[in-house]
Amino acid sequence: MSGEQFLSTSERTFVVNALREGIRVDGRGAYEFRGLSIELGGGGFGSAEVLLGKTRVLANVSAEVVRPTANSAEGFVLFNTSFSPMASPAFEAGRLTEEEVLVSRMLEKAVRRSRAIDTEGLCIVAGEKVWSIRVDIHVLDHEGNILDCACIAAISALLHFRRPDVTVEGDQVTIHPMDERNPIPLSIHHIPICISFGFFDKGERVVVDPTHLEEQVQDGDFIVVVNTHRELCTMSKAGGAGLDVARIVQCTEVAAAKAAEVTELIRGALTKSNEIKK
Amino acid sequence: MDTEMGEAEHAMLHFVTPGETVTADTVFMRGHGTYNDGEELVATVAGVVERINKLISVKPLRARFSGEIGDVVVGRISEVTQKRWRVNMGARQDAALLLAAVNLPGGELRRRSESDELQMRQLLSEGDMISAEIQGFFQDGSASLHTRSLKYGKLRSGSLVTVPSSLVKRSKAHFLHYTLSPGLHVDVILGMNGFVWVSKGSKDANKKGDVPNSTQEDADALYANVNEPITNEERMAIARVSNCILAIAKESELITEAFILLVHEASLRIDCKDIVANSKQIIDAAKMSY
């Protein structure tokens, strides 16, 4: 049968025992991310391919003019995740897995519910025409921690995205092609960064950015979405090993520090891609 | 805790809820409904602590039927597979009734052949009701049944009533026979799983139960699908007994041979269809006459 393979007991204990000695199977420290590479604009504005270790996620942002819901002056931000069977034999085409639901909901909460994007700024004519921003997320390679990788890809793509300029004269709405007028970036209030923790040994050991192997062994996860203003945007833990409140508070602090590091990397990638454009 | 617990202490119920420490004494053994957290024995269900010697268990007030070897159960065939029937008896898994564990028509001491496997559906098919006894358990915890006695087998001429299994206590008599008035008989099979079969009674109570030297005709008749002729009077009697059992269950009283009869008497002044709605009144009246 296709699908995910089970792990043997000895593999599990190997991972856990190594952690007890303070060593991760890939040699990282507990609070260390895998190598992060952010490639922006491979396919024009608003595309970001992010490689977190070997986990690879492609995010693409597109925009179209649509009619808003009844008399609203807000635009739309839509997320679409696709867990391609390309990424792992465990993903089956056309079936919405629980994992996919959780990842797409987390992204929506991290970016949309935390109001990272100014949706009012997407309005062209109130009640008539607004921009609908669509973020398509493609998981291409699954080596663990899809969520963090997808979140970085989504937010990087949104930061990189430019929409065509629009002028409104009376009833007349003109959308200017990109070569005619400089396109406009989205107005983004803050940069939410998602940090996933994996717990082992009944919650005694914790790591960030778990690999696929670690994800299969872990006793539960804890996801923190935080920005550089030290604002918690979303948190999620469901089941798994129980944690003390003190441990949770400690994790949020670690997450805030990690988020600052990741934000720096995203900004670096943005600057670099802007320089190439010039 | 004293191992010699007095009668009075027994009567006092020790009620615990999940996560509550039952005892911190390490001499006790862990039974159903508990787990060990370090030295402590902790409850996993909301229920009453039971102790048999050093074995401590917590019995939940309500739970799915889990059964023990020797229990009489009533169940419904849910699937016919090779060499076995699967029987839904309201437990956490369907039970299995092996072809080898039933009496076959044509004499008991016959070899089971492949043609018997092909004809299983002619004996018992999906939806048929049976009474049976739990013979044992498989590795995964599902029960194995047998019907190798003429008192077990296919059920006919009556209807099914289901009640919480906790209301049926293990006793000597699960095949009950009531003579409600001269010539009016009703049989009740009280399955330990809470499935109760109420049917037209046999005229002679002695005929039920284990009949020695069973004849071949009896064995053939075992799997017939035809109801006996039933009079309207008998139908009403079956309905009344069924409703009485439901009324007892509604009031969470134990369902026993004697109590069914008492409730039946108490119900006589009430229209059959109103029995369940007036359960409290009837049960109270029945208890009075206890």
Binding site: M1, S2, G42, G43, G44, S47, K54, R56, L58, N60, S62, N80, S82, S84, P85, M86, A87, S88, P89, A93, R134, D136, H138, L140, D141, H142, E143 | -
Partner: protein, 229 residues
């Protein structure tokens, strides 16, 4: 008059050198990215591997193709792409060598959703199959041509050029039998135009096949090639 195409090419029959990346993915048995200009496709191959019971074929491998667009959900166009690619693969993979197994290929468009993407997808898939070491009868390669509004034949058009085209042709050729492995043409065109399209496509495909070869040789890498002797 010097012709200037929107991306700077000076000849209508000029093929942009395709960019290829071999095995970018870690989980798949084989993977490749193939791009004409900004139109790129990533393909992954799993197999031959255990097949689902209901898909089992007694005498050959089951071939499954899944195409996902960059933006939005897949619809009827993606089904047509899947069918086209699957039919190509069924004629090209030595599927009778692997009965009762399945070969799955997944294509994801990386950019752009014009017809050009079908050519990229076919080429990326063939490269990914080679990367996965799946036995093939021959190498097939695909190119796209258009007849533009001034009835000029344009090879390997950009997305803008396709928008204004009178007709669009996607041709796939086999390098052994020189047969057409697949053709998908839309729009309105004459028989003469059609004939010129497949002549141009055939020779262009040969140069794509040369790119395949180069890509695979690079994979072998380090090992010095035989041209020393």
């Amino acid at each position: 008059m010097v012709l200037q195409r929107s991306d700077g090419r000076t000849d209508n029959l000029q093929l942009r050198p395709p960019t290829t990346t071999l095995s970018p993915l870690s989980r798949a048995d084989g993977s490749a990215r193939f791009a004409y200009g900004k139109s790129a496709v990533l393909a992954a191959v799993y197999g031959p591997k255990e097949v689902r019971l209901r898909d089992e074929l007694l005498d050959s491998a089951k071939i499954e193709v899944l195409f996902r667009p960059l933006v939005g959900l897949s619809g009827t166009t993606e089904r047509l792409y899947e069918k086209t690619i699957r039919e190509i693969l069924e004629s090209v993979i030595l599927k009778h060598l692997h009965p009762r197994t399945s070969v799955q290929t997944f294509e994801g468009a990386d950019d752009d959703s014009s017809s050009l993407i079908l050519s990229c997808a076919i080429n990326a898939t063939i490269l990914a199959l080679m990367d996965a070491g799946v036995g093939l009868k021959s190498m097939v390669a695909s190119v796209t041509c258009i007849i533009d509004d001034s009835n000029q034949l344009v090879l390997d058009p950009s997305a803008e050029e396709i928008k204004g085209a009178k007709s669009v042709h996607v041709f796939t050729f086999d390098n052994v039998s020189k047969d057409v492995t697949s053709c998908v043409s839309t729009g309105v065109y004459t028989y003469e135009q059609y004939k010129s399209v497949f002549e141009v496509s055939q020779s262009a495909c040969a140069s794509v096949q040369a790119v395949y070869r180069q890509t695979m040789e690079n994979k072998v890498g380090g090992v010095e090639t035989v041209d020393e002797e």
